[in-house]
């Protein structure tokens, strides 16, 4: 039996393999031209480019498994095993898309409201560490004040680092001299700024772009309109690295500074 299979398994010739390679290349070029701005086809296609690209990729997929992987010439059982796995994978994909995105391509409401960004998966651990740190009684120290201002029209603070002793009463006066941009100043542990800012987006301007009850926020000023200033007073937390950041959407990437507690 095995001997028989050996003989029925004939492979395409060198020229046929070259032809197959050229076809695969050609399809890839067509795919690229379909989405490349320079070719100008993409503007005419609109949403119909998606089924077209999926079809072309399925053609390439089929050519490779039929000819390069010899399924066209090999025993059908082998192909069936593979197709069964492929089919199951498709079903898993459809099931997941159905569960999280909803059939009919409608709103991603469930996932949009409930999906948790990857990094927040570790949040629980971080919170535990922070809470153990804060249980150490802070050493009382004299009050300190800082004047921080936004750097003109730029999305940056004029101050890049401040420091205070743990337990000290810290007062920060924040001035926003910009002619248009709104800013705030939020104190968080180093590394939390982008997450806090991301969670502040759905909270909106009414909540100063800070999630209400966010335990990662140590202190924050109100959202300051252009040309105004505000003040925030808080007790310096346990010694460690902290940051001050503007959580107005997008500002957190460039507008922040270091706050060291000794």
């Amino acid at each position: 039996m095995a001997h028989e299979t050996e003989h029925t398994t004939h492979h395409p010739s060198f020229n046929q393999y070259v032809l197959i390679a050229i076809i695969l290349f050609a399809i890839t070029i067509v795919e690229f031209l379909l989405i490349w701005d320079g070719a100008g086809i993409v503007d005419h296609l609109g949403a119909s480019k998606i089924p077209l690209l999926v079809f072309l990729s399925a053609v390439k997929f089929a050519i490779v498994i039929m000819f390069y992987m010899h399924l066209k010439f090999d025993n059908r059982l082998l192909g069936s095993i593979f197709i069964a796995g492929l089919l199951l994978a498709f079903l898993v994909g459809i099931a997941l898309m159905g569960l999280f995105v909803g059939f009919g391509g409608g709103q991603r409401s469930y996932a949009a409201l409930n999906a948790v960004p990857y990094e927040e998966h570790h949040e629980a651990d971080e919170e535990t560490t922070t809470s153990t740190e804060t249980t150490t009684p802070p050493v009382a120290a004299g009050p300190v004040t800082f004047d921080i201002s936004a750097k003109g029209e730029e999305l940056a603070f004029d101050t890049t680092s401040i420091s205070a002793d743990s337990g000290a009463e810290v007062t920060i006066t924040f001035t926003n001299p910009a002619s248009f941009n709104q800013h705030n100043l939020v104190i968080v542990a180093a590394g939390d700024k982008d997450l806090v800012a991301a969670d502040g987006i759905p909270a909106g301007a009414d909540n100063n772009y800070v999630q209400p009850g966010d335990s990662r926020v140590i202190a924050n000023t109100k959202l300051l309109a252009a040309g105004t200033s505000g003040e925030v007073t808080f007790t310096a937390p346990a010694p460690g690295a902290y940051q001050f950041v503007c959580t107005f959407p997008g500002h957190n990437f460039t507008m922040f500074g270091d706050f060291t507690v000794n």
Binding site: A21, F25, F61, Y68, G85, F253
Partner: protein, 205 residues
């Protein structure tokens, strides 16, 4: 080994090793299918950047896709040379396949590094998490294939690979082509279709 396999009795008349390879590939479909489905579910859900439109370089990846397709062509030539008992050609085509695979990995390392510099990390946002997990596991498959290719090339150079045990090369080829077709799917979904995604889907927005 192939000699032994020819005398091996199996109820299907097919080589156990070949059957096992196809079962593995079928199960690997599920593995990648789940990762691809995860990417598609999380598509457009990142609340912080960078987003695909900011960093995905389609022309660059089209070139690396060409390289991987070319390596599949080299792989079929390696099997043809093995069946023809052409030792020199077998070694050359196997090493050519490995080299093209290595070029593909080089592109991926360059891409990952460029993305990292742009702020896309595994833990930064959903896009980064699902993108790096999927393409990273694919890259790991390619890397494993390269090691396998080099190992068989060394055996071939020692004259221990020929038409009698061509199955060794055929199984390697099946694995290599599978890695290629997975990339065909990833390239279409993550680059050609998903590479132009902008911004997040904000709840209520």
């Amino acid at each position: 080994m192939a000699h032994a396999a020819e005398h091996e009795y199996t109820t299907t008349g097919l080589s156990h090793r070949k059957m096992l390879m196809w079962v593995f590939l079928g199960s690997d479909c599920l593995f990648f299918g789940s990762l691809i489905a995860t990417y598609m579910v999380y598509r457009g859900q990142s609340l912080v950047g960078p987003y695909p439109i900011d960093i995905i370089d389609v022309p660059l990846t089209t070139v690396s896709t060409f390289v991987l397709l070319m390596s599949s062509f080299a792989m079929v030539q390696a099997l043809a040379a093995t069946n023809a008992d052409n030792k020199k050609a077998t070694v050359i085509w196997l090493l050519a396949t490995a080299a093209l695979g290595a070029v593909f990995i080089g592109f991926q390392i360059y891409e990952f590094n460029a993305f990292k510099n742009e702020g896309l990390t595994l833990g930064g946002n959903l896009f980064g998490a699902s993108f790096f997990t999927l393409t990273g596991f694919h890259g790991a498959h390619v890397t494993l294939g390269i090691i396998w290719l080099v190992a068989i090339a060394i055996l071939a150079a020692k004259g221990r690979v020929g038409s009698k045990n061509a199955l060794d090369v055929e199984l390697l080829g099946l694995y290599w082509h599978f890695v290629d077709i997975v990339w065909i799917v990833i390239f279409t979904l993550l680059y050609l279709i998903g590479g132009f995604d902008v911004g997040p889907v904000i709840p209520g927005g």
